[in-house]
Amino acid sequence: MTAPQDELPLRPRDRSRNRARRRARGRVTVVGVCGELFITAGILVLLFLGWQLWWNDAILAKGQSSAAADQNAQWAIKTSPEPSTAPSTASPAPNAPATPAEPVVDTKTYDNAEVFAIMYVPRFGAGTQRNIAQGYGMDVLNSFKMGVGHYPSTQMPGAVGNFAVAAHRSAYGGGMHLIDQFQVGDPIYIETKDGWFTYRFRNLEYVTPTATDVLDAIPRVSTKATTDRLITLTTCNPLYSTAERIAAYGTYESFRPGAGNPPPEIAADVAKWGK
């Protein structure tokens, strides 16, 4: 089939040569089809990488942070009467040094993929809050509503010992994408239905994937908890690879009762969640 095109009048010899060339170009050959299939396959694989690392990553990140915002709103509504009455009774001495609240440690046993906390690390950026669910399987880490998984063998938030969680470094919402940006003293906030735990980043360790002793009660030292309350964030390293792991350790600083009562320094951030 030749295209009806406006062409300059050609001399007969030119015209026949042109027709021959067009016929040669239009011929479907095995080699030609194979080549085109290979090129197509290459494009499909590249497109898949684009989908996985950016498109799906962005969709999951959005879903996970808005699910965490919803969870926070739920807990905040339930606990709001308490903080609203507490400040009014405590108002006579607003500058008095508050006695540090005893952390309320959740003793309930949670099922796999059940959400029991929210993680918020300001260093990772505003709006990077994530639900923490029990278990570190792909049903938790690759989910639209969770993204951070708690190692069930480790302690709960605020408990003496090690509260260890895992998240993806890249893709699937990348809950710990910026883990290498941590600076000593950076806060790590963990919200539960009972209130807000503040941990401070201490140090970072690059380990092999089999180094499960980073999850120990005293990481890399002892499985027996003594007095320290620690948090361990684990994720993959380097970016876009699973060759190594990063473990980021933090130490417990304080507990603030009431999920609707976030620490003042992040209250403005938290108010913007889900908006």
Binding site: G26, L47, N56, G137, P209, T212, L215, C236
Partner: protein
């Protein structure tokens, strides 16, 4: 293959170009919506599961 597709499409070159663009976008949409999530659920190359 693609040459044959180009010849099958009707109209002048720019109509064909628009049609090709529509086809490419439709294929990309199908891939992103159904095919890639399914492939991902099978291969999952970025798992962080701890060998325990």
């Amino acid at each position: 293959m693609y040459g044959a597709l180009w010849r099958i499409l009707p109209g002048p070159w720019w109509i064909r170009a628009v049609l090709v663009l529509i086809l490419v976008l439709a294929v990309a949409y199908a891939l992103f919506t159904w095919v890639y999530p399914w492939v991902d659920s099978i291969i999952n190359p970025l798992s962080v599961t701890v060998p325990e």
